[in-house]
Symmetry: D3
Subunit: 243 residues, 6 copies
């Protein structure tokens, strides 16, 4: 079982970027947490009543994905990658024990997306698995890692559907484009439908992560043995130059 | 269990590039095959007796890695990425049923390495997992995917040691540089020692591949279910423009 | 009026890569020529009768696109970017007087595609407009220039449909993926459906090329009609996973 | 007729980056607006009287280019890509109805240039045509789209000349380097003199935008005249080193 | 003799990135200045007493490298690339007359590193030699320029050792990884041990900078001594996995 | 004193790419060798008498640059990066003892340029200094290393002038574009005129290579003289469009 953290700037960002992959993690028995940094106060048609509506929608979408939801408490369109923002993400990493993080791609025309991507790279600086997803506002994006989401595409659309206020009003979230991109990346990956990722770094599990009790006790021992021996005998001799 | 094919131009190329990863696959219960395209006839100090010696060394190295060995039968320094070379690799893919391929990075100053990389990309055009490893002659290489080889670095050095005629004589294969690069990439990956890969495309298994009998029967069903449903309901409606 | 040359390695390559754009050129009054370098002898299920069948299909597809067809006379899977191949393309450039060339992207896992791209870059070395299109086997591709093909997508599919022997048999040519990629790139370009191009160099016409008399009014109507119809019939069926 | 918006951080940035292209737009009957975000308060030798002088210079330069001028009202060396800056550019887009935007390249050592590029990408997030120009402080820049400015280079130099206070005093604005870069990019584009652009996205008009009546014939003559004169007066003086 | 300025965000950043290269400059008779922008207040285990301890450590490290030390006076984790920060670096450039600058690579997950890199590129906008070094938190980094530090690696480790409070406590500064990276880049550069640099721009001196009288002969001996000792003491201990 | 080898596919390629830099090496007391791989048999207007004429021109150009000339004996437009071509370049490296190599950039639309670049990277696989120059047919090129050629630009033009048969007839070799590119790159490098290079790898000499006795004083004067003359005679004529 793996602990996964998905980070997004606004309600529905995570669903758009990697919603089906989170469903696949859930189906695989992984524990999934979503961290939404802003409440979406400045989304289209934003007025007082909208904020709590968008928060309820996000809560419903998280349930659809089988994910726990955390809020960052920041304000839409004002996110900067400073110590405070980094601290919020660090707290989520500590609380969840996540060792795999999904977040916006760094090159994005939305200032909040860029800031969340940068702050997450800071917060996750010691993690071995950081993967970037694409948003409609992402600029350059050359993914090399894919997840087969053929079985989870309808679930992704259901999660997006929970964001009724956003989907109805924003020209940037078009369900047919969501399906089309999944098929486009699927063809790139030589499968049916895919979500696409550009890793900052991704350590593969050739020995799979331990699964829920009883399934893989043997494996768990094997992994532990390998991990224990990892840093015992590092090279220590270094050349000493003359004087 | 996964079937893995590693492709290299010359004896010892595969060991240098991904030998420890192959050991990790072997430890995870995967079936590993090495395809060495040339017999290494033109290696350093090459004379008649050398060829059979190098072939024996390669055979010993493969055993060290727990891998099956196939020869491509081509001649050192003459490899071109034409239909014949592609056919040899296609035959190995068919024979092994591999769905994960490791091969040289495309940008390499050795003409055989470039040719083998290109020919493998052709032969594996329908595969979802093609990963490139680094050679001492590789030029640009910006890896994003890593395998923790802390537990397998000594095994990699042992496999390289089997190539005594090459290691003794070539300035390009320096064991201390092998260890240093593993530590360098390990630091990049936030682990101990790593082998580094640049994927052309890599579909992740969130639901791990089925393991040897008894371990993951439940998983196997789950995977099959997902795969079966994959291409049933594709979007078929396309817009029709006015006449 | 502009003279346009589209170059492809095999029958159906050009249609897949830029078929709808060629239709848009035709609609704009431009003269379009397709140069298919091989007869497609080694396509899937290839036997004697197939070659002439594929040539007839290509002829029919060209008519669908309103394009003139030229054959390069080379043999499938043997194209190299040498003087002879370059000469064939130079002859087509001279014969057509083309000042805008469409051709495969350089980084492609099919050796013929790479060779045709390289040879075309040589042949077109003095031209100011060389644009690369994507094939299913293209590897890295980061397009920045787009053509709105909302009005021409059905025509592209019709042209692809003319290649019945290829479409039926090859897993690489999937009509739903063609539509999905057009929608994916359309979203990137902030329009409906697009074909995507990576230019080697593209000199823009701010003062448009002179048009043949009488065409402009018709065009304006045509464009309006196309725009209106653009987003009416989007793909709506999405796969539903078991449970 | 097309509506074009050029955005720059300081007086003379737009002229340097795309002044001749704006002249070409003007000659093609397009409506051109320049948005200068700061008043240039902190330019070289800056004191109280300078600001109004620089604003007058910018006004004169805009007239030279046949462009309307808008000021952003920000302060030199303090621009950040926040909601306020984005709002200023959005207002200019709304006011002009522009569907083609020119702006600084994103990778630039001047903090204002980076900020203006990022803010413009945010403001123009729904536009299909965003092109980046080069400044003397631009870092990586790999243009693929070019405009033939052979006929407009003298006009560009005249517009730059209007910025007398800047050109006299700044080592970064050297007229001979302006001409040299235009010739350098022209050689890249296989024409005489060019301005070079890296598009974030650029949807081409294969069916040209409708022109205002009566202009076409004039334009054709103008183009012919420009083409004839293009390579007559190339720079011929080269420095001669001491023996 | 050349004047060199190395800029880093925190104590020990410069030593890690280019400490051995600074030693090589010192050995070559160049004048070396280090500008450390923050006092490292927020390093690991930071409390009141720590700041002055870290400042003393940095002073000792600078002496080890034969470099003069300047402080920027900024606060850890709050650096932004604004006019104030740029002004601090400009002042150091003026004071030292440096014409070669070393600084963090631009793409780094630490916000201070990014800010210092950007601010230095602004401050050094008229300099012909700006080289970027790698930090443990650097993301993409594709160096093409190298300095042979075989003779200075022990000195680099000594300088790092002066930062006892940091090295003991931070998982990011591991001496064995420092040596490994030097060997990794050395293999890339076809020498023993190297520090690696990605230049923004680097004008080479084919006619070497004038040297102070009397130094040349000494240097020649020094170089010879270093070269002889270069590959004697390579790391030989490699980790041995259980089983 | 350094031994330098410049490699080019055809007569005049080396002069265009790095002729002024070779003059700077010569002025610095370095020994310079040019290896021209083909005799230029297929240049423009090629007939029997042309070959010997072009060889004489190349000989004269080499003398102008103070360089020794070697011929590769290959035939124009047929170069491939195979063992034979690599062997020719290896022989030149052995014969000259060169430790710095200049050669075509890898991405070039001329097949011979690509082949020569690839073969040189193979032949120089153990060298620490390999730098790529730009040709008119070079495609992507992002130089980061520059040589100040202000003092040697007239010498470069003289060397190009020796290739009268080529310069008169080829549209690709335009002297004004040569000067313009040197100024363009000079502005990038913050100097007067520059040749630009993209290194595969470049180990810097911080301790300069030992010079032959008696040269240093002369050099210092020479440099001073060149610097003074650098910006006196910039190109001032710019094309003036009609009306």
């Amino acid at each position: 079982m793996r602990d996964v953290l998905a980070v997004g700037a606004h309600p529905d960002d995570i669903e758009l970027g990697c919603g089906a992959t989170l469903l696949a993690h859930h189906a695989a028995g992984d524990r999934v947490t979503m961290l939404v940094l802003t409440g979406g106060e400045n989304g289209p048609g934003d007025e007082r009543g909208q904020v709590s509506r968008r928060r309820q929608e996000q809560q419903r979408a998280a349930r659809t994905l089988g994910a726990e939801l955390r809020w960052g408490g920041l304000r839409d369109c004002t996110v900067v990658p400073d110590s405070a923002t980094i601290g919020i993400i660090e707290a989520a990493l500590r609380a969840t024990g996540a060792d795999l993080v999904y977040v916006h791609a760094p090159d994005d025309s939305h200032q909040d997306h860029r800031a969340v991507s940068a702050a997450t790279l800071s917060a996750a600086r010691r993690l071995s698995r950081v993967m970037h997803y694409q948003s409609p506002s992402t600029l350059t994006f050359t993914p090399t890692v894919f997840v087969d989401v053929t079985a989870h595409l309808s679930g992704k659309l259901a999660a997006l559907g929970a964001h009724a206020s956003q989907v109805e009003m924003s020209a940037m979230v078009e369900p047919d484009a969501v399906v089309a991109s999944a098929r486009h990346w699927g063809a790139q990956a030589r499968i049916g439908y895919a979500e696409a990722f550009a890793p900052t770094r991704m350590v593969l599990d050739l020995v799979p992560a331990p699964r829920p009790a009883g399934l893989a006790a043997v494996d768990a021992d094997l992994v532990a043995a390998h991990r224990l021996s990892s840093l015992i005998a590092v090279p220590s001799a270094v050349p000493v130059a003359a004087g």
